[in-house]
Structure formats: C-alpha cells, structure tokens
C-alpha cells in the first residue's frame, strides 16, 4: 500500500496542482468580472511584501532622477525665482481683493458648501512596481486598505485617468491601467460631446469606439470621461484623438487615442477615495464609510 502511494504520489501532486490552478482561474475570472478583490491574509501579505521590496529597489532610481531634475532645475533658478516672487506679490494682492469682495457678498460660504458637495478626497500614492507580464498593464502602488483604499476606486494623475484599483492588501494595491485590454470607460469628445467607449488594447494606445454622426470626432479632439458607467467621475481627461477610422457601411467606428497620461513614467498617482455608484453596488459588502457619491463627480 505504501509502495503504491509512493508511486502515485507525484502524479497525484501534479493532478492536484492542475486542479487547484484551474479552480483558481475560474474563481478569479468571476471575481475580476465583478471588478476585482481585496486579497486575503496570505495573498495580501505577499502583495505587501512585493510592494515593499519593489519600493526599496525603485528608491535609488527615483532619488537619482529627482537629484538630476533638481540639478537641472538650479539652472536659471535665481532669475525665475525673482520673476515668480514678483508674480506672487501681484496675485496675493488680487486674491486679497477678490476674497474681500466674496466675503462681502456671502459668496465664499456658498462656494465652500458647493466644493464640499463635489470634492472627492484624493490620496497621493507612489508607483512602486510594474506588471510582471508583458500581456497585462497594471502597477503596484504603496497604499492599501490601511489607507482606506478599496478595489474599484479610480486612480488619476494631474494629467488624467490612470485606471482603477483591482486588488488591495494592507499596505499596497494593484491598479489596472486604462491601457489594459480589459479596461473600458464611457467617454465623450470634449468639443462635440460625441459619446463612445474608450478601450485599452494592451498597447500604448487606446481605442475610442463611437457611433458616427457627421464629423463628430476629429484628430486632435480631447476625450474626457462622461461619468456614465459609474466607475470614473465626469470630466477627467483620457486622451487625444490621433486618427479616425470611418467606414460608412458600419454603425460603430473607431478612433485611435493617445493617452494624456505617460504610463511609462508613472511615479505619483492619486487614488480617489470614493467609488462610483456601479462599483459601490459591486462592492456593497465591503464598502468603507464614504460620503454620498455623485454620478457627475468632482
């Protein structure tokens, strides 16, 4: 009996591992279709550990880059400093006058109330790791559940949309970038308000699929999020149309879009600490205490 067990131990182990991996894939496929997951203890610890290691390894490169930028920045800095000081003095004077006028008319209070209603708290975060696979586009950031980051939260930079958080651990999170071919966002052309869907293609460009009405979309047009779809707030910049492929026989047409975010040089990003309504529905069970979300966003 023990001889038999010894002989079939290896095939059993092999078959068991194949079964486990297949089950994991089927299970994770369902999870990813629902938007992502907040990892369990072991997976979370591994994600956190990798985030820490990758942060340590990236740090010298970041520091060298920052030092180089500082050195370059020193050139002409005295002249620029003088000009900026003069400009600040002018603006402070203007600002003071405007504030006085607003306070006098009671507008300041109303503006403050309006901002509170629209603003979503932003959490600054560093990109510490990139996707291990060339087939997918995601990054690892150094903020996780302990910073109130949850799966489904949008991630942006000052330039525009980066992607959405798909997995979190205590101290790190994975962000699926808009470039990933599984990413999509409802978007509009800023100029003509033509509406469509922006898809990632797994490359450095995006695809905008839309229904043609005349010349709704042209090269140079800026694409922004529409707020529909409940993932990204309205008005975030996505990219610029590079070329349009129109075929009059087809209902849907496509445009090639160059992202406004330089995904190859991502360093600092901001997590919007509030999920859109769709994501809120998907993650109803683990929803953190948030303020009321708005379809129109900030």
């Amino acid at each position: 009996m023990s001889d038999l067990l010894r002989r079939i131990r290896l095939p059993l182990l092999f078959a068991g591992l194949l079964l486990v991996t297949t089950s994991l894939m089927v299970g994770d496929r369902a999870v990813q279709q629902a938007g992502g997951s907040d990892h369990g203890m072991f997976a979370g610890a591994l994600l956190g550990f990798a985030g820490w290691v990758q942060g340590v390894v990236s740090a010298p490169a970041d520091a060298a880059g920052a030092a180089f930028d500082r050195y370059i920045g020193l050139v002409d800095v005295a002249e620029e400093n003088r000009a900026l000081r003069a400009r600040i003095a002018e603006l402070e004077e203007d600002n003071l006058q405007f504030r006085e006028a607003l306070v006098a008319s009671g507008h300041l209070q109303r503006i403050a109330e309006m901002r509170a209603g629209f603003e979503v708290p932003l959490l600054p975060s560093q990109v510490v790791g990139h996707d291990l696979s060339s087939w997918f586009r995601s990054v690892l950031i150094d903020r996780g559940q302990s910073d109130s980051v949850r799966s489904g939260m949008p991630v942006v930079t000052d330039a525009g949309v980066v992607g959405v958080v798909t997995a979190t651990s205590s101290g790190a999170s994975r962000v699926m970038m808009l470039l990933d071919r599984r990413s999509a966002a409802d978007a509009i052309v800023q100029r003509s308000r033509a509406r469509g869907i922006v898809h990632g293609q797994g490359t450095d460009a995006l695809e905008f699929v839309f229904m043609v009405r005349g010349d709704d979309v042209m090269p140079g047009d800026v694409i922004i999020t529409s707020g529909v779809g409940g993932v990204y707030p309205k008005g975030l910049r996505v990219g610029e149309v590079v070329s349009v492929q129109t075929d009059r026989d087809r209902l849907l047409h496509t445009a090639r879009v160059r992202p406004v975010v330089d995904f190859g040089r991502l360093e600092q990003v901001f997590v919007l600490l509030e999920r859109g309504p769709t994501m809120e529905l998907l993650y109803d069970g683990d929803a953190p205490p948030t303020t009321a979300s708005s379809e129109d966003g900030p």
């Binding site: 991996t21 990758q54 060339s134 071919r181």
Partner: protein, 177 residues
C-alpha cells in the same frame, strides 16, 4: 529541504525585483523571473519539490501581475515536467544550450498565455505593438537564463558543501581509539 527553501527565497526575491526593474530598464527588456526560477527548480531539485516551487512561483507572478490568479501557476506547473524531460535528454548545464532552450520555452509560455487568455479572459492582442514587448522579454529571459541558473546552482552547491563540512566536523569529534 534547505535547497528548496533557498531556491524559494531566491525565486520570490527575483520575482519581486522584476516588478521594480522597469524603473531602471525598459519594461520589455526585463526577464521573466518566475520562468527562470522554475527552470532552476526543475534542474536543481527533485520532481515533487520542483512542482511545489513552480506552482508557488507562478502564483506569486499571478499576484503581482494583471493575470488571472492561477494563469502563470498553471503554466509553471506544466512547464516543470517538460523542463525535466528535456533536461534528461539534453545537457542544459552549458550556457548556450540552456539559453536556446529557454528561448523556446519562453515562446511556448507565450503561446500558453495566449491560449489561456482566449479561454478565460478573451483574445489577447496579437498586433506588432503588443507582441513586440513579449518577444523582447522572451529574448531577455533567454539571455539571462545561464546567469540566473548559475547563481541558483552556486547557492545550492554552497549549501550542500556546508552540510557535508558540518558532518565531517562531527566525525572529527569522535575519539580516535
């Protein structure tokens, strides 16, 4: 056991480093550490330990990439017996045969990703823009393979030597008569 643990630590460190390397070199030129760790495990460990490590390396790669959980793990689990079969037929201790074999293995791995992607996620991109970085990463992995396996082999040999030395030291303490 010490060999297995050492390779596990080396592999996990390599996989973690892989994600940080794009800060230094273009992402397309970063070798696939989980594939290299699997090759090292297949060549330096027994079949059962190798299988478990290959699965662990694949799972770690899944966690640190946008892939489905289990996607790399399945491929690594399938690749390990394949590497062992090939290494029984060919001498993979030399650099050139090993690099050539890893080049082929990387191509098979890419085909595996395409196949699994088609079944579980939907068709993966096949254009030049998408395949270029994949091919570059396969070549980078093949180039680095002899060095990576050499480091793993050196660590394992060192551990074996220290174990032998410890046994010898115990022997010398016995009374001469």
């Amino acid at each position: 056991m010490r060999r297995t643990l050492a390779l596990l630590v080396l592999g996990l460190a390599g996989i973690s480093l892989q994600g940080a390397l794009p800060a230094w070199v273009p992402a397309a030129l970063v070798p696939d550490a989980s594939l290299l760790a699997t090759v090292a495990a297949a060549l330096l460990l027994g079949p059962a330990e190798g299988l478990v490590l290959a699965f662990a390396f694949g799972l770690t790669a899944d966690l640190l990439s946008g892939a489905l959980l289990g996607q790399h793990a399945l491929l690594r689990t399938l690749e390990l017996p394949f590497i062992r079969v090939v290494s029984a037929q060919l001498d993979l201790r030399r650099g050139l045969p090993l690099a050539t074999f890893v080049l082929g293995l990387g191509a098979l791995d890419a085909l595996g990703m395409l196949g699994l992607g088609r079944v579980f996620v939907g068709p993966l991109p096949l254009g030049v823009a998408a395949l270029g970085p994949v091919l570059a990463a396969i070549v980078a992995t093949a180039v680095v393979a002899p060095l990576a396996v050499g480091i793993a082999r050196a660590v394992v040999t060192k551990l074996d030597e220290s174990a032998v030395r410890r046994e010898m030291r115990l022997d010398t303490r016995r009374p001469a008569i």
